[in-house]
Amino acid sequence: MIYQGKQKIWSDYQKEIPSDHWFYARSCIRQSFFPGAEKYFMVICKDLLGKDIFENAHHTTCGGISYHSDTIPQETVMTIVARQFALMTEAGYKNFVCSCITSFGNYTEILETWREFPELEAKIRENLWKACRREFEKPEYVAHASDLVYKFRNDIAERAKFRLVNKETGEPLRVVEHIGCHYSKMFPHKGVGGAEYPCVLSGMAEAWGGQVIDYPERRHCCGFGFRQYLVKANRGYSLSNTHKKFESMEPYHPDLIITNCPGCPYFLDRWQYVISEMTGKTYGENGYGIPALTYEELAGLVLGYDPWDLGLQFHQVAIEPLLDKIGIEYDPAKKYLGLNEKEIMKPALPSVMKCC
């Protein structure tokens, strides 16, 4: 691997990311999968970095999940998106940041479509007006939340309490990054680093001390594939794609996976359990899995937030070996305590994969 070659490509794919004044749109599913992730994104942006980032309680799903599952037509999803833009316009913002990469892909695709077909945009404006009497201006910048974290990665590194380094050996942790298909595969120029050698996540991992692994199936889909997973008859196909990725990354012995998409961390996490039940194989050390974290969770970890506050107990793969490797202290007893130390239920343990 010629690192300079990658750097050259990264330099070709740098996008402009305004440093402040953002309108934030959440993901429809991440809050239930990884509830700490979006929360700590806001905490980091607002409290730690002191940025102006606004969210409106009335915003909804972007509709991308239904669009990609072939359940709603494109004009509907465009109208939903138009409403999100209207909320942004009403709040007086011009920079739009979203938490989900399918949303990011969705917003980008719609804006590009409107650029090519202005008559469609006019029609959507009419639809929106008819539906809820709102009007909107198109955002000047659309970013994914990871773009922002990438932009502030060095600020975060400066404030970090931990580095992605093995405490015992001093070696950098081996990080697998997965940007998710909708981040830049559709519009390479809209993603940091392009589509082939994206650097949005690898930039974070490297800034925080880790070493990024480039394994053969790096570009491959996480396996979610929307209706491939949602339709049970196709679910084996979804699983097989994830399995292919793990088989490919296995020889590199990764310490963790850092991901972008709501689906990616979910499937890279949960399918490890399913694969272990089906094949008896686990991919981490000593019978554990490989922890799959969102970039916000990882940022939270290096900044020294409590793992359980970050919601890491919601992961299927146990996070503890990673915490031990980095040297992050945690209280095992508090793993399944919720707000105000209230007992939340303990999950049953898998038969193959070790989970604490």
């Binding site: 049970k232 679910r235 084996g236 097989s240 399995h243 292919k244 694969i275 089906m278 038969s351």
Partner: protein, 122 residues
Amino acid sequence: MNFGFSLSPSSAVNLDKIDLSLYHKMEEIEPDVRICIGCGSCSATCTGQPFSGMSLRKVILAIQRGRENEAREMLSGCMLCGKCTMVCPRGINTRHLILSMCRYWDGEDHGYNLMNEVEVKI
């Protein structure tokens, strides 16, 4: 545990892992198997094709890709009429190739049956 779905094998041909022993045997018997350009003349003219789907082009490709099982059925419909040999633009001795494939398909030499009593009338 039964999840109601399972891992499906990859449909990809992995050239590093396939078993090419049959192909190599064919290369030894009829080196011209290498020069097939997949034009499909053999399949288009095949007498057996309408009945069995025989396509020599596909059979050759299947053994090159280590997927013999997909082609066995086709070969068993060959009538050996020789039209494919007549039309092959690359001059491949297709009949001999087919006969040799039928003989060594499973990678074994099935030998001779010298004690056989037959009605020989040609």
